[in-house]
């Protein structure tokens, strides 16, 4: 049993719903008690979809448990088929129905419906949302594309036709990423055979084998299916997640190699405004800002890379809640010279952030809450999502336009460059002081707090030194205090003066 205040991921059947809702012509019959229909609002309210998710819930109640819940399931499945006439159906159980062991797969088979019915086994007490989405997509691909597999040993000639795999409903900017990557592949001269699951029909999935290779946008969701397609149809798959200008360039090179094309012309033709903005003199002030990154594995790794390579931030923390991809995140963290944080406990994430003098958080909606409480600027880079993560405007994360979006999104919460300098110069000013919010973000100007004399550890702060400490920007003040106290105690200094403060500053200068 695990104590949870918030969860980063929903149960696995919500992952299955994300696949079903992304697709057209597919229906999901879910054996579930009253109340599990809450999941509909994820799609209709948070993502603001105009249609109900294609899910029929059996809605069993306590009084049914002694009776025939199996019959209830069969009726619901039969009725759903007659009403919605889907091309294919997936059937399964939510956490409670899993306990009553009615075997939805077997029951649905007994109905002998004239369409493919794919049973899902999603262990709710073991697995989570992304796993559920990946498993569902894999089962669908296997069941629908499988019958069209060529005999073993069939050779495949490289050609410029691919599938795009991974975008779902309720994904973090999946809709816009799909549009961006579709455009990029088009400009490269690569034809798209099927993009799935978003917008695909079960019939489309039967044609997956007709592509030469697969573009995997979200390995958490499409990795398993892509591996099976690789084994069954000999289709290679892309490994690069095209988030950031550099990764996008690598992605182009990778696709070109798989498609047998020359990457040079497209690499020469495509430009990124974000890359130029980062080089522009105005961005100097971004250098070395301390950034904490947390999210699903793909987004976290990609964000950390872009933050370090393309903006010049320092990555002080990198973590994920995707245990399945913990190894990848650990490797990425190592490349930034830090240890990865792999946890599903948001209180642990909060503690890590508090200990690191973070100047910017790139995280999920959970970290946005942590950031709000700690007064740290934050941008959201990954699920879990909120209604604000479905902007009306086009806002991809992938490709060159995605890099532009990320540059703006991450820099916007920070104090502007010149403003930060003015703050440094006029720290005594009643408006420009360490506690003031960035001027372009509104919010009331906070009054300066009178600094109390603090007696800390073995060394005592002289009033003047304490006042001087107050002039140091708030996000590094804690560190400055600790460093100075350490410096003083190591040298047996009893009273910290202004001189001690600046001696310590020189000593610890990066």
């Amino acid at each position: 049993m695990q104590l949870a205040v918030w969860t980063y991921e929903g149960p696995p059947h919500v992952g299955a719903m994300r696949i079903a809702t992304a697709m057209e012509g597919l229906h999901y019959v879910l054996h579930a008690p009253q109340g599990d229909t809450y999941a509909d609002l994820l799609f209709t309210m948070i993502e603001r979809r105009a249609k109900r998710p294609p899910v029929t819930y059996t809605t069993f109640q306590a009084r049914d448990l002694g009776g025939d819940t199996a019959e209830l399931f069969k009726n619901a499945a039969r009725e759903a088929f007659e009403r919605f006439r889907p091309q294919a159906m997936i059937v399964g159980a939510s956490c409670t129905a899993e306990l009553i062991q009615d075997d939805p797969g077997g029951l649905a088979k007994a109905l002998a419906l004239p369409i493919p019915v794919i049973p899902l086994e999603l262990p709710s007490y073991q697995k989570k949302e992304n796993w559920g989405a990946a498993e569902t997509f894999y089962q669908l691909v296997r069941a629908l594309a499988g019958p069209h597999a060529p005999p073993p040993g069939t050779r495949r000639s490289p050609g410029p036709v691919c599938n795009i795999l991974g975008p779902t409903a309720l994904g973090f900017r999946h809709r816009d990423d799909l549009a961006e990557i579709t455009g990029l592949l088009g400009r490269m001269g690569v034809r798209i055979n099927v993009a799935a699951p978003l917008g695909a029909t079960p019939h489309d999935l039967t044609r997956l084998g007709e592509a030469d290779f697969n573009v995997v946008l979200y390995p958490e969701i499409a990795g398993q299916a892509a591996a099976w397609l690789g084994r069954t149809f000999g289709q290679k798959a892309t490994k690069t997640i095209p988030i950031g200008s550099n990764a996008t360039r690598e992605f182009i090179a990778e696709v070109a190699a798989l498609a047998g094309l020359d990457a040079a012309p497209i690499l020469a033709a495509e430009t990124s405004r974000a890359a130029w903005y980062a080089r522009s003199v105005d961005s100097n002030y971004l250098t070395g800002k301390r950034v904490f990154v947390f999210g699903d594995a793909s987004h976290a790794i990609a964000a950390a890379r872009m933050a370090a390579e393309e903006i010049g931030f320092t990555i002080v923390g990198l973590g994920t809640y995707s245990r399945e991809y913990a190894r990848d995140v650990r490797d990425a963290a190592k490349s930034h010279g830090i240890e990865a944080l792999v946890t599903e406990d948001y209180l642990e994430v909060e503690a890590a952030i508090q200990g690191l003098q973070v100047e910017l958080i790139l995280g999920t909606q959970m970290e946005r809450h942590i950031a709000k409480r700690l007064g740290i600027p934050c941008a959201v880079i990954s699920s879990p999502v909120h209604v604000q993560d479905y902007p009306a405007r086009y806002s991809p994360q992938m490709g060159f336009e995605g890099a532009n979006v990320l540059f703006d999104t991450w820099v916007h919460p920070l104090m502007m460059g010149l403003e930060e300098h003015l703050l440094g110069m006029f720290r005594e000013d009643f408006e420009f002081h360490g506690e003031a919010a960035p001027s372009h973000l509104g919010g009331a100007v906070t009054e300066r707090q009178a600094t109390a004399v603090v007696v800390a550890g073995p060394a005592t702060w002289a009033t003047e030194a304490e006042k001087e400490l107050g002039k140091i920007p708030f996000f590094v003040r804690g560190k400055a205090r600790r460093n100075t106290e350490r410096y003083a105690s190591e040298r047996g200094i009893g009273t910290i003066t202004i001189e001690t403060l600046y001696d310590a500053k020189a000593h610890f200068a990066r």
Partner: protein, 426 residues
């Protein structure tokens, strides 16, 4: 459109004897766990620990955008595979989680263990767990339990189950008092308190109280007024403790509020002249506030999907005070006795439905083409996309709507989606 739907209601009959369409099928309603969203704000030193699955935890954070409370006074003990292997283990695990929680939150005085679908199905006995934990954590913390599971409760029934769990905790009281039952916004509670005081009715106590220690007493001289229509079990237990329910419509709208107060006034033998003088001012203010919305709402046809059990009192208010025409009033559960006064006031010819088969109900809704649909969050945007104006029903549970001074606000909640449509030109 069927002719029956267009027939003018025969006002003198009401719906007291009306047939009810009972349906089974997919229900687009929350389970009782959702009640925790308002109950944890209402009882300020209580904590709600759901013993359930990841689904329960996910529901709580998705259902009402409750992530605005950074560390709320509720959490989920998520059952995992190891707990399912053996029940003894699950009990030990629960004790460990509770100890962990209480060490983090020393401010908690009352802890509810809240049962869920999975905990009910595996028959994890939370009442025994509560007894055991009471021994461990007494006297600082009182541990109670109730079920908010979807297999047993629908949305607001979670509040009923929670309040029912509090009834055995109420001390016996011999003196004559008025007990108002059902969570109300504090502003509403204060207004009602002032009205009862002016009428000379008292002492007045409220269930649930704002703090666990202020739990009211109950006994044979307790007279209770239900402030909410979904409290069947709580009322039954209070009656078993000797309390007498004062039958009344619910305090929605001016008419409902007056009738509700009248029930208490009659029991207390309040002088009719005094009653008129106390209620007249509130009625007059409500009338002014309602008049502002009547033009917008009068004659408009309204369709209720089942949600909070508030549907019948709301339909009565909208029909009688604003001239709206209820087409279908769906409710998850219809308590004939508690709603007898309401049903008598509802225009005859209104279709009543209980339970739900959501696809069939959507068919009826599309056929009836109402001007306004009251429904849950899962249905609202899809219906808007089909061209219907909707009012999300959950707002009716989270907004202060009872009493004279909220009647205008309540009307405005229904008028706003219609007004919005007249403004938008996209």
């Amino acid at each position: 459109m069927s002719a029956a739907l267009l027939a003018p209601p025969a006002k003198d009959i009401g719906c007291a004897e009306a047939p009810v369409l009972r349906e089974r099928g997919q229900r687009e309603v929350f389970c009782g766990l959702t009640g925790i969203i308002w109950l944890h704000r209402k009882i300020q030193d209580a904590f709600f620990l759901i013993v359930g699955s990841r689904t329960c935890a996910h529901l709580m954070q998705s259902a009402a955008g409750v992530m605005i409370f950074a560390e709320p006074r509720f959490a989920t003990a998520i059952i995992d595979e190891r707990d399912l292997a053996g029940l003894a283990d699950a009990n030990e695990e629960l004790d460990r989680v509770v100890a962990q929680l209480l060490s983090r939150r020393p401010d908690i005085k009352l802890l509810f263990l809240v049962g869920s679908c999975p905990s009910e199905v595996i028959k994890l006995d939370l009442s025994r767990a509560a007894q055991r934990l009471n021994v461990t954590h007494a006297p600082g913390v009182r541990v109670l339990n109730y079920s908010g599971s979807g297999i047993e409760t629908t949305f607001t029934q979670g509040e009923d189950a929670c309040l029912a769990a509090l009834v055995p905790e109420m001390r016996p009281a011999a003196t004559r008092s008025l007990l108002v039952v059902g969570a109300l916004a504090e502003v509403v509670e204060d207004q009602l308190r002032r009205l009862f005081e002016a009428l000379g009715i008292g002492p007045v106590t409220f269930l649930p109280p704002r703090r666990a220690a202020d739990l009211p007493g109950v006994g044979p001289n307790t007279r209770m007024l239900l402030a909410q229509p979904f409290l069947a079990e709580t009322a039954r237990l209070l009656e078993a403790r000797g309390a007498q329910r004062l039958a009344a419509p619910f305090p929605l709208g001016a008419e409902g509020t007056t009738a509700w107060l009248q029930a208490a006034a009659t029991a207390w033998g309040v002088d009719p002249t005094l009653f008129r003088s106390v209620t007249a001012a509130g009625e007059a203010r409500a009338a002014v506030a309602l008049a502002r919305h009547r033009d917008q709402l009068a004659g408009k046809r309204i369709f209720f999907f089942p949600d909070s059990q508030l549907e019948i009192p709301l339909a009565r208010f909208l029909a009688r005070e604003l001239g709206m025409v209820p087409v279908e009033v769906g409710t998850p559960y219809l308590h004939r006795q508690h709603l007898a006064e309401e049903l008598a006031l509802l225009p005859a010819g209104t279709r009543l439905s209980e339970g739900q088969h959501v696809d069939r109900q959507l068919d009826r809704c599309r056929e009836a083409r109402p001007d306004l649909v009251v429904c849950g969050l899962g249905l609202a945007n899809p219906l808007e996309a089909e061209g219907f104006a909707t009012k999300w029903s959950i707002e009716l549970v989270f907004t202060p709507i009872q009493g004279y001074d909220q009647a205008g606000d309540l009307a405005e909640l229904f008028a706003r989606p219609l007004v919005r449509r007249t403004r938008l030109m996209v």
